[in-house]
């Protein structure tokens, strides 16, 4: 069995590595993206304002205080501990507890300075108790890089496997393999391994480049982050295999894969946080493996989470992998209808 998996894996790797155009695109595109981001973000931080409201309810009552009616401010409900941590890391400009009459601010944060001045302007003098929350800033690019790495893994794993399997089926290569002792699970394992190796290689390359060019934050366990990348890759390859299990048309495969990738790109927190989004959107985002992968990656990179802290996300990714591999193996056809 191992011999057969390795045979298919080796041949697939040779095919991929010698296809200079595809290889170049897979490696160069993400690197170009990082270079572009370096050019855009290396000069400064973001210029928008986010304020946490310390409260249990998700709903923000803007009538509770004139400050909450300030335009161009995002007010996000969260618990006190998380709010203070995010203020300390410059992820939020200010945290406000209306009931306790307290606010937290990082004295080093430029955004915090303006948020505080506006709070003072909209309140009576002496109405608030000021609490400092200090820490290194987490810039937008620090926050964005895990999203970029995850997005690259998503595209590489979903399209890289889905299209290849459909092409093999359409041109009859799978039919030829079916006449050998190779079993579907062996074929699928070889595809997973081949794409995993590529995805991890490119992710390591990107990670190294972003550390070098953008000096991004890395507070937690590198091993845990590596494990997140591996499980994210496998779960996405499994989804790609399940979607391509019977399809014989590249056009249909493209449509199906876009059906998955676009919602994930928008709702998994690649580009922006869903902290201020409606509750149902946040719940919906939990069905995507990328959401869990990015949550875990950001917890590790930005907040120093360890293996045990991200275990729930790792288990979810493993569960998604198992579910889609089972579905993929059950649906898999060597030939089209």
């Amino acid at each position: 069995m191992i011999q057969r998996i390795l045979a298919i894996l080796h041949a697939r790797n040779l095919e991929f590595l010698r296809d200079k155009a595809t290889l170049g695109w897979n490696v160069a595109m993400p690197l170009l993206l990082v270079a572009g981001m370096a050019a855009i973000f290396s000069g400064g931080d973001r210029a928008s304002y986010k304020v946490a409201l310390v409260q249990a309810e998700q709903e923000i009552n803007t009538a509770a205080h004139p400050y909450l009616e300030t335009r161009y401010f995002d007010f996000i409900a969260m618990d006190q501990e998380e709010a203070i941590e995010r203020v300390a890391n410059h992820q939020l400009d200010l945290a406000l507890d209306l009931n306790a009459g307290t606010y937290w601010i990082n004295p080093e944060s430029p955004g915090g300075y303006f948020a505080e001045r506006l709070l003072e302007a909209s309140s009576e003098e002496g109405a608030w108790r000021r609490q400092p929350a200090s820490g290194d800033p987490i810039t937008y690019v620090d926050w964005l890089i895990p999203g970029i790495l995850g997005m690259n893994i998503m595209f590489s794993c979903l399209f890289g496997v889905g299209y290849v399997v459909v092409r093999y089926r359409k041109n009859g290569f799978l039919k030829r393999l079916k006449a050998t002792p190779l079993r579907p699970v062996e074929f699928m394992s070889a595809q997973i391994l081949s794409r995993l190796l590529l995805a991890i290689f490119v992710t390591l390359l990107l990670y190294g480049a972003t550390r070098l060019l953008l000096d991004i934050r890395m507070e937690g366990s590198g091993l845990a982050l590596f494990l997140v990348a591996v499980l994210a890759s496998i779960s996405l390859v499994a989804i790609g295999l399940a979607m391509a299990a019977r399809v014989t048309s590249e056009e249909l495969a493209g449509g199906l894969l876009n059906l998955v990738t676009w919602p994930m790109m928008l709702l998994s927190g690649v580009w922006f946080s869903l902290a201020g989004a409606p509750q149902w959107v946040q719940q919906l985002s939990n069905i995507f493996p990328l959401t869990h992968a990015l949550t875990a990656a950001r917890d590790i990179m930005l907040y120093g989470a360890g293996f045990a802290d991200v275990l729930p996300q790792l288990l979810i990714l493993a569960g998604i992998t198992a579910a889609f591999l089972t579905v993929g193996a059950a649906l898999f056809r060597w030939r089209g209808a």
């Binding site: 045979a7 041949a11 040779l14 095919e15 093999y168 009859g172 290569f173 050998t180 002792p181």
Partner: protein, 296 residues
Amino acid sequence: MTGPPILAVRELVKNYGQVRAVRGISFDVPRNCCFGLLGPNGAGKTTTVEIIEGVTPATSGEVLYEGEKAGAAFRQDSGVQFQTAALQDFITVRETLEMFHRLYRRRADIDQVIADCALEKLQKRDNRKLSGGQRQRLLLAIALVNDPKILFLDEPTTGMDPQARRNFWELVERIRARKKTIVLTTHYMEEAQALCDEIVIMNEGVIVTQGAPDTLLKAHYKEIILELPEADLEELPAEFPFHTYRRNGLVEIHTDDANEAITRLSRAGAPLGRLNIRPFRLEDLFLDLTGKELRS
């Protein structure tokens, strides 16, 4: 060709929706022979072979290999050359063979396979850069990497020029000489006559005849054929008690007394310079049994 059959097909049925492509056929493939499966387009021969090869599921019926239901052992022991099969791009002939080689427990000497299929000079060539004949030789080599006991060749010479086809036949003869069983699907009756020890002719999903080509021809025909161009025999002689047919610009005269037929033609003043005398061939049998012309 002694002993129990290597392969037995029993009551095989294949439906595609409402269409019944194969209608309950049964036959045995004797050991160590070249077995031909012939039929016009739509006869069900490719479906039958693909069911035997295990790449298409049967609606009902069974395929027995060495007396057992064809399964894992059959896949290890069989080699398949499809008429067309895509291979991976960007990998070479030798790498392709090595990949397939590693899928089997039972393995041939890969250098010997390469030599047998005259691929020595093409080992480092990218699959995409092979000509049609070279590609067919590679597909045959892939079918041989496991030193198969039974080899399936599906229209292996379609698209080849006559010289390449002859070379391919010689190659198949050499394989057969090693006591292999070959199942050959072909449209070329000349190919079947040259290579096959036994044939099955299918039409509309059923078997219309089965046997050794010579035996079948002897059983069906006691006569020989005189052929003349239609231009040389526009009207038949008045007294001419032989069956005649006009096909493809020729007049065919079927007779068991060639001397008498030629004498009558000569007396009637027909020019005989372009007269051709030949025995019945598989092509004639095929036409008579199926009523259909071959694609070739």
